[in-house]
């Protein structure tokens, strides 16, 4: 980008051309106050807070006031931030804003990380002169996540600009007028948009605050934090969880989650599942200590066969029991079968795989899911296909979404796709020489919206920005994709001329003429045919000479369900799935079997009946963070660390490996799963008389640090070799000082634990990363990528992030996190016959089952978070009105489905394919069948056994 030279307060700087002056000043790390400007949303010049003086030339002494966010930098421009007139103007602006601001700071959750506080200090407004009465507003109840305190508003309009323009929400408006503008809903109620949590960070003051945090509130400076990765879907958003110990051993240490900027993934925003899902780690259902099944026979209970009641067990005994089993397995007296997990780190999975041996390691997913994941992996290896980063998605100029309900399965990607809707406008703005940061000007440009086509199995949140939406079954969607391939220019088909205005033709025309087309698909609909069709389309587009600016690859985003779905895929073959495990254990075998299930709930992954069959007759040892359905059958339960309590690596849906770090020391006897396994192995080695006696597990018995596990993996598995470059970089130590997890203002060091014991204990040491569980260490902005406490002098709010970036909206300094997997480049062979999609044999009488995903409810961990649990609602089925009529079912009726104890509420919707039954995913165990007979849908009868007992 071309550079221009500007002079600010008699110093010359070189800055990028085309940006606005505020952006340039912040990029130069200058302190210039602002409110309405946001790096992701551009300038509107509403607040007038960023005024500076611009001089005509160097010899001009008078100059004039300009609003820096609305002024492009001019080559040779001379500006002054420190001129007295500019300073007093800014102080005057803030004084007016503060006229009605309540005297609330001590009882405001924003206090201490408030942009308004920072800007007030920066503008040197210290004394209130206005003695009149303050305007007040009544608040609204905005649901369980967001608190509303309208008195504090300074009318910067950031909330509605974010909520309506950026996130596409419709239920938050600017109401009223004049001095009495009210930002709220038409009536009380939960904010509907799935990204409403970002209002907490977008609002520069305390109008919108985090209600879940407020329940166990502490100030920002009292939170300890570390870089983490969100565990609630496969996108891999970076987060900065904040934790604080209460000094009395309360395990609920995690207090909140905020966004941690990563340009290529989450940028400035998180979805609500990621922001509020953290509460699962504080759940009363956490396993805090090793538990053992009670051997006392149950006298009377409602438990199913094989269910157990647990009692605590000293950790050394638990390790000894596990060591016994490993010992037996080693001596060939027992089969030890490991079940890995898509929601835990690569390190944990690798440790389990090492322990049980590659042949006995199974992915904790169904055969169908594992096949899909391997398919995704194979597709992403194709040189003609690339996984787009979020900014790339935002700049796509034609989008086709194939079946995947990304608003609910990969929400942050849906938010990015929403930005793509304005790409045509942005292109037009470029052509007209309007800078893109001129938000209002770009928005009102008259240009057709970006062609976005959605093929879905139900109405989605993105339907509003779609040019065309079609509701169809997965097979039909796959067929549509293949039809589009046929309609692309250059495709050798005869059908091209006829039916020229079919949907496929429209899509083909839009995609073919786009420079940066984007296809979005995923594993959600459980259809390999759909994934193959998406890949075929992407490859056809990549071969299309018009597109992709000569890169000869097409952007294809494939959403995977869990945080480490793609990571686990690297560790097991396509055959190592739970059904295989089932047939393995079902075989006659003289040896007793032990299942080692690590952070996997079999009843979440498989239909009830299959999960029960796997558990039948086998001993189960489970390592998990939350007590779940599978835990009821476990002989031994070991408490695993939740993501913010541990360090490890996740591989996101794009194949980016990212390391997350321990935010806080977990309570009780909780530790990472790999540590339990390594402890047991070490105990085993001690019994055998030294590690050399157990050569297969010798390395594992000596693992002390998670980095050793990563190193072993990087050395052993070629595509995971980038793990060795993933860090943490121990060279970031300055004079031996690690990165401090706590802020330099962290309070209560000598009082927090004093109730229990007045003598202070040293803080725990982190064996795995160059970070301290204390305030002692590096605190400087942008010094280390490990720093997650976003703070700079004068900038207490999250707006300080620009001090951590190369420039606002740019890459995180000094380096962005994550390394792409080093997968071999391999052409993905599409096996598509002329007949199109290999059809699932459909009986005309049967209803095809479709999984329907929900932001709150379909996440295994997040649905158990306290606040999210209040909005999850009941399991439901979706029916097309015609089908509902045929089945004689009305909306709101309760029905039962085969193989499940759950009752489902019937919802009838016309935006659904016919001859299908959509079933809420995650509300019950998955359905065993891909199609069900209408007779199987039985109305729910209360207490069918009667009341005789």
């Amino acid at each position: 980008m071309a550079k221009v030279t500007i002079t600010i307060d008699d110093r010359e700087y070189e800055v990028d051309e085309g940006q606005n002056l505020l952006h340039a000043c912040l990029g130069l790390k200058k302190n210039l106050p602002y409110f309405c400007w946001h790096p992701a949303m551009g300038s509107v010049g509403a607040c007038r807070q960023c005024a500076v003086i611009e001089y005509m030339a160097r010899d001009d002494t008078r100059g004039r006031l300009i609003i820096s966010c609305m002024t492009p930098v001019r080559d040779g421009g001379v500006y002054s931030l420190e001129d007295e007139r500019a300073q007093s103007f800014r102080a005057g602006i803030i004084e007016k804003m503060m006229v009605n601001h309540p005297h609330d700071c001590p009882v405001c959750e924003e206090g201490g990380e408030c942009h308004l506080q920072d800007m007030t200090l920066m503008s040197a407004h210290t004394m209130r002169r206005y003695s009149g009465r303050k305007r007040t507003f009544n608040n609204q109840n905005l649901g369980p996540f967001i608190n509303h305190e309208m008195n504090r508003c300074i009318t910067c309009y950031r909330c509605v600009r974010y909520y309506q323009d950026y996130a596409g929400g419709r239920d938050l408006q600017a109401l009223g007028r004049n001095q009495q503008v009210y930002f709220g809903r038409a009536e009380d109620g939960r904010l509907e948009n799935g990204f409403s949590g970002n209002l907490v960070e977008v609002c520069p003051t305390g109008v919108f605050t985090d209600k879940t945090f407020s329940r166990r509130f502490v100030r920002k400076w009292d939170l300890q934090t570390a870089p983490s990765v969100c565990e609630h879907c496969g996108v891999g958003c970076n987060t900065a969880p904040g934790a604080r110990d209460d000094g009395k051993g309360d395990p609920r240490k995690l207090r909140r989650v905020v966004n941690l900027y990563h340009r290529d993934i989450n940028g400035y925003f998180l979805c609500d599942r990621g922001r509020f899902g953290y509460e699962y780690a504080n759940s009363p259902e956490r396993i805090l200590q090793p538990l053992q099944a009670d051997t006392q026979p149950l006298i009377q209970s409602t438990a199913a066969a094989g269910e157990k009641i647990h009692r605590p067990l000293p950790p050394q005994d638990a390790v000894a029991q596990l060591a016994d089993i490993i010992e037996e397995a080693r001596l060939g007296k027992r089969r030890l079968l490991g079940i890995g997990s898509t929601r835990t780190s690569l390190e944990n999975n690798y440790a389990l795989k090492t322990l049980v041996g590659p042949a006995n390691f199974y992915a904790g997913v169904s055969a169908g899911t594992l096949q899909l994941l391997h398919l995704v992996n194979a597709i992403q290896q194709d040189p003609q296909i690339h996984s787009p980063s979020t900014p790339e998605i935002e700049q796509a100029d034609a989008v086709l979404i194939l079946g995947e309900d990304i608003s609910n399965t990969a929400p942050r990607i849906a938010l990015a796709v929403r930005q793509a809707a304005a790409e045509q406008q942005r292109q037009r703005a470029r052509a007209l020489d309007i800078p893109l940061w001129q938000d209002a000007s770009v928005r009102q440009l008259d240009s057709p919206p970006t062609p976005i086509f959605i093929a879905a199995v139900e109405g989605t949140d993105l339907d509003g920005i779609a040019r065309e939406t079609v509701y169809a079954t997965p097979d039909e969607i796959a067929e549509l994709a293949l039809e589009v391939v046929n309609q692309l220019p250059g495709a050798v088909t005869e059908s091209q001329t006829e039916a020229s205005d079919s949907l496929a033709t429209q899509i083909a025309r839009a995609l073919a003429s786009a420079r940066k087309p984007l296809i979005v698909c995923g594993c959600g609909l459980q259809s390999p045919a759909l994934l193959r069709a998406a890949a075929a389309l992407a490859k056809a587009l990549a071969a299309n000479p018009v597109n992709s600016e000569g890169t000869a690859s097409c952007a294809l985003y494939l959403a995977c369900a869990d945080a480490n779905s793609l990571g686990l895929t690297q560790l097991c073959s396509e055959q190592q799935h739970l059904e295989q495990l089932l047939s393995e254990t079902a075989q006659e075998n003289s040896l007793p079997s032990t299942l080692l299930a690590m952070e996997v709930d079999l009843f979440w992954q498989l239909p009830d009946e299959q999960a029960a069959r796997i558990l039948h007759g086998n001993q189960l040892i489970q390592l998990d963070s939350l007590y779940n359905h599978t835990s009821r059958f476990a002989q031994l339960l070991l408490p695993s660390a939740a993501t913010p309590e541990s360090e490890g690596t996740f591989v996101n849906s794009s194949g980016l490996a990212q390391r997350y770090y321990t935010v806080y020391e977990p309570s009780g006897y909780i530790q990472e799963s790999w540590r339990w396994l390594a402890n047991a192995t070490a105990a085993c080695a001690a019994r055998a008389g030294g590690v050399e006696k157990i050569p297969a597990l010798a390395d594992m018995a000596q693992w002390q640090h998670v980095t050793q596990v990563s190193a072993a993996m990087a050395a052993g598995i070629p595509q995971l070799s980038p793990l060795s470059e993933l860090g943490p970089d121990w060279n970031t130590l300055v004079a031996g000082a690690p990165v401090a997890r706590q802020s330099h203002r962290f309070s209560g060091r000598t009082a927090l634990q004093a109730e229990v014991a007045v003598a202070e204990q040293p803080p725990p040491r982190d064996p795995d990363a160059p970070m301290a569980f204390s305030m002692e260490g590096i605190q400087f902005a942008g010094y280390s990528p490990l720093q997650a406490n976003i703070w700079a002098p004068g900038w207490n709010s999250d707006q300080a992030i620009h001090k951590f970036q190369n420039q606002p909206g740019g890459e995180r300094a000094p380096a962005a996190s994550g390394q792409s997997l080093r997968r071999a480049t391999k052409v993905f062979e599409i096996q598509v016959t002329d007949t199109g999609v290999p059809k699932t044999p459909v009986n005309a009488d049967l209803l095809t089952t479709l999984p329907l995903y929900r932001l709150f409810g379909s996440g295994e961990l997040s649905r158990r978070a306290r606040s999210i649990a209040t909005v999850v609602g009941q399991a439901f089925v979706h029916l097309h009105p015609d089908d509902a009529r045929a089945l004689a079912l009305c909306a709101g009726e309760q029905v039962c489905l085969p193989g499940s104890d759950t009752t489902f509420e019937v919802k009838i919707t016309a935006v659904a394919p016919q001859r299908c039954i959509g079933i809420s995913a995650g509300y019950s165990s998955p359905q065993a069948v891909v199609a069900m007979s209408p007779q199987d849908i039985r109305p729910f009868v209360e207490n069918p056994q009667g009341n005789s007992s």
Binding site: P106, S131, T136, F137, R152, V218, G748, A751
Partner: protein, 172 residues
């Protein structure tokens, strides 16, 4: 040299005839002004409610970090400390907490007699700190001036506040 020696001897000798400044403590108590920086208390507002709103400013101002508390919000909408702890074995009586307190809740008193045989007894909890009066500031009640609504004081009923804006009013 000699002269300075003699002068010192003379000064010491003169003091034989001066009044004794030593006080027979503890039989005799010295006068300490009300703003003396001694034992810390938590006060109540004129209505008898706890003044502390658990804003955490005292804790962050405290140089030896000996104050710790946890905010909780009660049914009446008030913020209160769930616990409030001062480790007096670390306290240096600097008074920065009092300076920082936006509600006059935390105040230092002219009492310094806090010796204990067991250091653990120097840890004071909220029950130990809370007194039944307003301390040095008799009139101040934070919630009267704050914009936050609490039970008994709705929006617009605070000091210097207009009635809440009615968005359905045609005369906005």
């Amino acid at each position: 040299m000699i002269s300075s020696l003699l002068r010192s001897l003379w000064l010491v000798f003169r003091h034989l005839f001066r009044r004794n400044v030593t006080v027979q403590y503890p039989d005799e108590q010295p006068y300490l002004p009300p703003r003396y920086r001694g034992r810390i208390v938590l006060t109540r507002d004129p209505d008898g409610d706890e003044r502390c709103v658990a804003c955490n400013l005292c804790a962050v101002a405290c140089p030896p970090d000996c104050i710790s508390l946890q905010k909780t919000e009660d049914e009446d909408g008030r913020w209160r400390p769930e616990f409030f702890r001062i480790n007096f074995s670390r306290c240096i009586m600097c008074g920065l907490c009092e300076d920082a307190c936006p509600t006059y809740a935390i105040q230092l008193t002219p009492d310094f007699e806090m010796s204990e045989y067991d250091r653990q007894n120097m840890v004071y909890e909220k029950e130990d700190l809370l007194i039944n009066g307003p301390g040095k500031y008799h009139e101040y009640s934070f919630y009267r001036v704050a914009g936050k609504a609490i039970a008994g004081k709705g929006k617009g009923q605070g000091l210097n506040e207009k009635k809440p804006v009615d968005l359905h009013d045609l005369n906005l």
